[in-house]
Symmetry: C2
Subunit: 409 residues, 2 copies
Amino acid sequence: MSLIVQKFGGTSVGTIERIQSVADKVAAFRAQGHDIVVAVSAMSGETNRLIGLANEMEEQPTPRELDVLVSTGEQVTIALLSMALNKRGCEARSYTGSQVRILTDSVHNKARIKSIDDANIRSDLDAGRVVVVAGFQGADENGNITTLGRGGSDTTAVAIAAALGADECQIYTDVDGVYTTDPRVVDSARRLDRITFEEMLEMASLGSKVLQIRAVEFAGKYNVPLRVLHSFQDGPGTLISLEDDKTMETPAISGIAFTRDEAKLSILGVPDIPGVAYRILGPVSDSNVEVDVIVQNIGADKTNDITFTVHRNDLAKAESILSATANELGAREVITDSKIAKVSIVGVGMRSHAGIASKMFKTLADVGINIELITTSEIKISVVINEKFLELAVRSLHSAFDLDEAVVE
Amino acid sequence: MSLIVQKFGGTSVGTIERIQSVADKVAAFRAQGHDIVVAVSAMSGETNRLIGLANEMEEQPTPRELDVLVSTGEQVTIALLSMALNKRGCEARSYTGSQVRILTDSVHNKARIKSIDDANIRSDLDAGRVVVVAGFQGADENGNITTLGRGGSDTTAVAIAAALGADECQIYTDVDGVYTTDPRVVDSARRLDRITFEEMLEMASLGSKVLQIRAVEFAGKYNVPLRVLHSFQDGPGTLISLEDDKTMETPAISGIAFTRDEAKLSILGVPDIPGVAYRILGPVSDSNVEVDVIVQNIGADKTNDITFTVHRNDLAKAESILSATANELGAREVITDSKIAKVSIVGVGMRSHAGIASKMFKTLADVGINIELITTSEIKISVVINEKFLELAVRSLHSAFDLDEAVVE
């Protein structure tokens, strides 16, 4: 018998029928004797409807009042799910964030959780009840309603699991787990049974949009085992946890992430003077353009070439800033390229396996793909390539690193 | 400078545009220097939408969870109205019932207010803010969300006014005040400038559906001056307060109420034995049929005739119960009549004016109306007549008791 926190997102509770399916699933777990806390989002579309009302009222709605407004979305879901559970003879009780109490700071619309009082939840669990908690919301120390920002329901679930010392936090989604790469690109992509928090963070931030990054960080920090599962299909899902030394040899890499959302800018022939990188990239960041990969080379003529990537939507803005800087600094030229893609291999196995990088580069070279930029971290190697080679690169790497699904003979 | 509590119902806040009109009105009051607390209902239709969701989920939704669900309706309104006020430079802050805190008993769906903590409201008023409170809801001593039942927003407003010792509680509605009688029946019906709590209670319970009876009782108990006003038209409305000895001579009667909703049953020739009234009416009440006017006569042959009225929808049920009782008791016969109307004259002036009843009876006799039943209270005389004479009776009485609007010459 375990203590399990389950989280169902907006799509999983998007209609009365779906809430009833969720109730069936929760009641079945409860019937196995587990203690269950369920965290839920607003029914899909509801949060947008409420924000629409606010925007009709005011272009910049008062942040405090926006939280009062949108927090009603999850409150509707907890009531309906609790009714559905009670109807099934599975006694349940709902809690808003304030009622729990989930204490947050006072930064409305993107508050952070400070602590969770587990007294109410525990007393209901002890009485044999399922506890249904509104995700995404809390209250500050003056009792003002706060929200954690979009996607915050995952964070609520993980934080409750951490506070209760739950055995597992299950995140129900519209996919049946975390994959070695996007199955729409590689047919033989495989669901991973396990992945570490670190790997999941690299996968998530690189475009595998299964879990909120913040929730994964939180789970890693408090060592809450996370499991990603499909809301309406049975299956073991993917367990995200600390690295387990006792398991068999770790594979070299766990997955391949990629994105087509970036564009590349280069400023060439920049005089090699101290602080030049800051003078080039400072104005870009100041205008709220996020810079991703950055590479600096000193050329043969003692001038710098600096290349970086930004989100494709920010290209025009970044280019105009960079051109102005090029003028000031007397750089030779600015060139841009929006037809790029970034491909990353991710895996804690890199730490113990030598030669991962060269294997990656050889694999790409063998199929004739030119690498434009390289950047590395402890458990990730990313390359920027021409967009048209993206699928080829992902498939080749997927196969080279033995990620393809085993063919049943 | 006064402290004023204003209440706006669902129709007054039914759309974004209407909430903006309410914000204009509230901001104008605030600009005059008054301290303002606003209590609001859910946007019209919203409570029914939420109850619809609950009923889709479960025929008999868990009462506790139904309160969690429907209380979101007012929460949406307080947020939107506060945003609209802030946009107008009129600083405002919203409060749910729990946040205030409005402490109620634990009877979900029809809770009663036990106390109101005025600390939060006062500190906001002191800071110059308008306070916007969700009507119809509170929380019990364990923090469970409760609702006061339909129409409870009037009660919230009055209770807050009582707790704060407000100078006036203004109830904004879709009529511009309380009338001497229904203007759809009598063209010359007049808006009353003042009426007492007692009179309002008699008028309300007899069918002038302007205010919730419970709110009027509450206002009378704590002597909170109530004013009924039109949400979107200017005007003084009607002030409901204690009787004021200092005003000019009280008119004999203040208004005429009526209803067509009742039906009459008579059981004739009942043996005159002790307890017979209970044996006849007990089974009727036991089946949840409410009995209104009751008249008992002892006939010349020492047998009883008992006549009473019930809601017209309950006639068939009451008749079948009464027929069974008639058999048991050996009564002569049961007769029923659904073509009746009840007309009442109401006024605290009855206490000091003699001859009101005979004037009423003479007025009806003069126009040829036969009175079937009579019942009286300290400030009300009601008669039951044939339905077809209803309009004639109301107009004749309205004129006879000098209620007609003065014709401007």
